[in-house]
């Protein structure tokens, strides 16, 4: 899918796929946070003209979903655990009838004690999921019967390092619930015939969706096909089948295509959110050197853990705090707890955002307490020369900014890094007289990946881009093509390298010498070889964590200048610098787009975004209330992309989740620099900043 089609409206997103005669699905969502479901009476809904089918747990039994832990029911059984939980699915001839029918279903709820907020969730003595141990993917050893999961690690000699420390710094930071807020809401279309299932879905892991449907339907996986439509933004939201399975079951029961397109209201209130976190960091420092870290993260996992992809049913905070520094002695844990809030899920860098706000803020606190310049302290503790290079770049700009007149202002910095997520991809390169075609089953989720594949193919074979076509092959149409799905900043490093591998293999068969830009050389070569075409497959994989001896990470540094209105608490971010060391740049425009987009995304979640939940009810239920930064809210941003370091060896690195995680600590550090007030809680809303200013002057 190319960019032009997205601009001119030609791109067919899932909601655009035509399906004459398709039924439309609406859901009955729970209005209460925790209750026993004592009765469901769908008779009034069934009686409405145009209503074709009504689905409850009585018809489908218990079907549990989950990317790691399977605790998320397709439709609620005898209990609802959060507001917005899907209880009944109605299929009707048009969306309005489906909505009216859903409103006509009579569900009786008998209230149960509710658990809101992290403290209550940690203390809850009656577990919200008493059958936890029976769930597939349950974590064997967890801290308490209301925990969703735990990830704990220890490296080096932590206790001796703390015992010998000159100073121990102990701070607790909190972060808010954000929404991933993709432009396109979730949508799906399912068609079931006697021997085949066809699915169109806003789902970035179509292979997983295919396996799931085959399992739920008890049909051979070969009979299930997932059609690849472009995904209109993901940011973590598009990895969980919120509506797909109910639509599949309705399609099978009714024999008609069934579709659902989520309203944005439902998007904000019934999907999943960034996990609000409490991060406590205890950091041992001796002689200006960080000797040991004890990091404890607790998160409100909400009603279900199934939206999280990490096998330990937490978010990836381990190894994130102080990840840019040489800290060998580390004790880290992350624990998620059940509550009656809407479930937590993945939002762009799902755990690193929280962890880095804490650690890059604390680095600043420590530097100030020790009387050191924050950049100097970072330089002295940096993990390697690559990071020291970034610190030096930041310093030159920060010194320049400080020399300029500018009234009351503050400057703050932060360092970030990013590993490439694990994954595997197999693609096929087909060289024919008319051009080169690369067949793959990789979802285009809007990051420009298909343009990148096109460019990689053209470069590897030495043909103009106009002779290259990237062809999305529906999942299931070709058993050889594989992909782990998009996400975790892995597309370039995994699918992109698979494209290069397939092209290299094809090139080897064509004699091993790429062309010099002549698009017809492959045709001539094929004629010389006396063959119609050359077909070659390529596979690439990335593991996680990366091997310890090479730094295959991306690194970045952020500097921001802020002014603070001390009467209102409003932070005015005036300008910013981003220094990025991301290895080889394949597509400058897409690369810059990811870096800029990451900055804006991070700035928005730093200053503005909070999905407010009161007694389980989302009160910021529209984009008019859940405010997101737009172009008018973004300061001038200078981006400095560093040449790949000498030892990079052409390594392919990730950029998608590198930048957004560093904006919050840079801004908080700048506020401290401006007015001497330390902010420990996100987002940094004006009211919260004013309260901190008053607290300090008390």
């Amino acid at each position: 899918m190319n960019g032009a089609a997205k601009v001119d409206g030609g791109a067919a997103y899932v909601a655009d796929v035509r399906a004459p005669g398709a039924l439309h699905v609406a859901f009955v969502h729970s209005p209460v946070a925790h209750a026993r479901v004592t009765g469901i009476d769908p008779s009034a809904a069934r009686a409405l003209p145009g209503v074709v089918d009504v689905l409850t747990h009585r018809e489908i039994g218990e079907i549990l979903l989950g990317r790691a832990l399977r605790d998320y029911p397709v439709l609620a059984g005898d209990r609802v655990l959060c507001v917005g939980q899907r209880v009944v699915a109605v299929a009707a001839v048009d969306p309005a009838t489906a909505q009216a029918a859903a409103a006509a279903v009579d569900v009786e709820y008998e209230p149960l004690p509710e658990v809101f907020g992290l403290d209550e969730a940690m203390r809850a003595d009656v577990p919200l999921h008493p059958r936890y141990a029976e769930y597939p993917g349950a974590v064997a050893d967890r801290p308490g019967s209301n925990a969703q999961g735990v990830w704990a690690t220890e490296e080096g000699e932590v206790d001796p390092a703390f015992a010998a420390a000159e100073r121990v710094f102990d701070h607790t930071f909190t972060t808010a619930r954000n929404h991933s807020a993709p432009l396109e809401p979730h949508a799906c279309l399912v068609s079931v015939t006697a021997d085949r299932v066809d699915i169109w879905a806003t789902h970035k892991e179509p292979f997983n969706l295919r396996r799931l449907v085959a399992e739920v339907g008890n049909v051979p996986v070969e009979t299930v096909r997932v059609h690849l439509s472009p995904v209109g933004g993901d940011f973590g939201a598009k990895g969980f089948p919120f509506a797909e399975i109910a639509c599949y079951l309705l399609a099978r029961r009714t024999g008609k295509p069934v579709r659902h397109t989520m309203s944005y209201d439902d998007e904000l209130t019934t999907t999943a959110t960034r996990h609000p976190a409490r991060v406590r960091l205890r950091t041992a420092v001796t002689d200006g050197v960080i000797r040991a870290l004890h990091a404890e993260t607790a998160i409100d996992g909400g009603a279900f853990g199934g939206v999280k992809a990490v096998p330990m049913v937490v978010i990836p905070t381990i190894h994130a705090p102080y990840g840019s520094y040489a800290v060998a002695n580390r004790r880290e844990s992350c624990v998620s707890y059940y509550s009656n809030n809407l479930p937590g899920g993945h939002v762009r860098a799902p755990g690193e955002f929280q962890a880095l706000f804490a650690s890059e803020s604390q680095v600043d606190v420590i530097a100030h307490e020790l009387g050191l310049d924050p950049l100097e302290f970072r330089h002295a503790n940096a993990a390697n020369a690559r990071i020291r290079r970034i610190v030096a770049e930041l310093r030159s700009t920060v010194e320049k900014w400080r020399a300029e007149p500018g009234g009351t202002r503050g400057i703050g910095v932060a360092l970030t890094f990013r590993d490439t997520g694990p994954g595997l991809s197999t693609v096929r390169c087909v060289v024919e007289p008319g051009g080169v075609r690369v067949e793959l089953s990789v979802v285009d989720q809007g990051s420009g990946s298909y343009s990148l594949f096109e460019r990689l193919t053209a470069e590897t074979l030495g043909v103009p881009r106009g002779f290259v076509r990237i062809q999305a092959v529906d999942v299931g149409a070709d058993p050889v093509l594989q992909d782990s799905g998009t996400g975790a900043s892995r597309v370039t490093a995994v699918a992109g390298m698979a494209v290069v591998e397939s092209c290299r293999s094809a090139l080897a068969e064509l004699g091993g010498v790429p062309g010099d830009g002549d698009g017809f050389w492959p045709a001539r070569r094929l004629a010389e070889l006396g063959v119609q075409s050359v077909v070659a497959e390529g596979t690439a994989a990335a593991g996680w964590p990366a091997p310890p001896d090479v730094d295959v990470r991306s690194h970045a540094g952020i500097a921001v200048e802020v002014g603070v209105d001390e009467e209102s608490g409003r932070i005015d971010v005036r300008r910013a610098l981003l220094v990025a060391d991301t290895g080889r740049v394949f597509n400058e425009v897409a690369h810059r787009g990811q870096l800029e987009g990451g900055f804006v995304y991070g700035l928005s979640q730093t200053l503005l975004e909070e999905l407010v939940v009161e007694d389980g009810v989302v009160t910021t239920a529209t984009l008019g209330d859940y405010r997101i930064a737009s172009a008018a809210d973004v300061p001038p941003l200078e981006i400095r992309v560093l040449e790949p370091a000498a030892d990079d060896d052409g390594a392919v690195k990730s950029v998608g989740e590198l930048v957004n995680i560093g904006v919050a600590p840079a801004v908080a550090n700048a506020v401290f620099d401006a007015i001497g007030v330390r902010l420990l809680d996100l987002p940094l809303t004006a009211e919260r900043v004013l309260a901190a200013i008053k607290e300090q002057s008390r």
């Binding site: 209201d265 409003r570 909070e610 009160t619 529209t622 737009s630 008018a632 009211e687």
Partner: protein, 286 residues
């Protein structure tokens, strides 16, 4: 349910179409569209008033400035007559929402919506503007301060229309300014807004009007604060803690996800103070 969409070419046509059951007037459709998407309004008949010539334009009529109710915010922001006669109004219209809202939203639609965090009602209240409401019973004039009787509610009847907004042209010695607090996005609703109009008689303020938005069900008249301004000189607008205090006493904000009631109350005082500083330093031209 289907909705009939009637494009009225004249006021009479519009009023006739509105007289039927379950009809709703729509100008730019910004709020009607949003509310319909949320399922909060519906109508069997939508009557578009956007194409009625009589609801367009800005003209001076004696000591009154007459603004057509279907003028969009964007056109008002650049209207030469308005810019010349009431620059503060044009500037306010130029900062409503975002460019998409300004391209479609109209001043009449805005006043008819009566959303408490909107900009125009606050400044128009400070300017003591009126609206002309037309209906079967003929036209009547209502002060902007008396137009809304609560959030999303006005005295305009279901078969009536706002046709004009009438604003006094500035008198000698008048100063007026408006500010809104946007701690979130640039296109957000105001968390708090403040409009002040004063009339200097010589060096001293002879009359004042102070209104705050988004801190009550309708624009809040801060009469006590206004009384405290009378008799002051321009220099004395730098020390207005007593005025700010009176503003805080007058407003009645409710806490929500945009901020606590206490915070909004405090910001009302801060923003009235800032408007007065602007006037004191020579801003808020007349």
């Amino acid at each position: 349910m289907s909705t009939q969409f009637v494009v009225a070419r004249s006021l009479d046509e519009a009023l006739e179409a509105l007289a039927g059951e379950d009809a709703l007037a729509v100008a730019g459709g910004v709020s009607v569209g949003l509310l319909a998407n949320l399922g909060l309004v519906s109508a069997a008949r939508l009557v578009s008033v956007a194409k009625i010539p009589g609801l367009q334009g800005v003209r001076v009529d004696g000591d009154r400035l007459v603004i057509g109710a279907a003028m969009t915010h964007g056109r008002l922001a650049v209207d030469p007559v308005l810019r010349r006669e009431r620059a503060e109004l044009a500037t306010m219209f130029g900062h409503i929402g975002n460019v998409r809202v300004r391209a479609w939203g109209t001043v009449g639609g805005n006043l008819a919506l009566a959303e408490p965090a909107q900009d125009p009602p606050v400044l128009l209240a400070a300017l003591d503007a009126e609206v002309v409401i037309v209906g079967a019973g003929g036209p009547r004039r209502v002060r902007v301060t008396e137009l809304s009787d609560g959030p999303m509610s006005t005295v305009v009847g279901p078969d009536e229309l706002i046709s004009e907004v009438v604003v006094p042209v500035p008198v000698a010695g008048e100063r007026c300014a408006y500010r809104k607090f946007l701690p979130k996005t640039a296109d957000d609703y105001a968390k708090v807004s403040a409009a002040v109009q004063v009339r200097f008689d010589g060096a001293r303020i002879a009359a004042a009007r102070v209104f705050c938005g988004a801190v009550g069900p309708v624009p809040v008249a801060c009469d006590q604060a206004a009384a405290l301004l009378v008799g002051r000189t321009r220099d004395e607008l730098r020390d207005v803690d007593d005025v700010a205090s009176a503003v805080r006493d007058a407003v009645s904000p409710t806490g929500d996800h945009r901020g606590s009631a206490d915070y909004k109350r405090e910001m009302s005082g801060v923003f009235v103070k800032r408007v007065l500083e602007e006037i004191g330093s020579g801003g808020g031209r007349s």
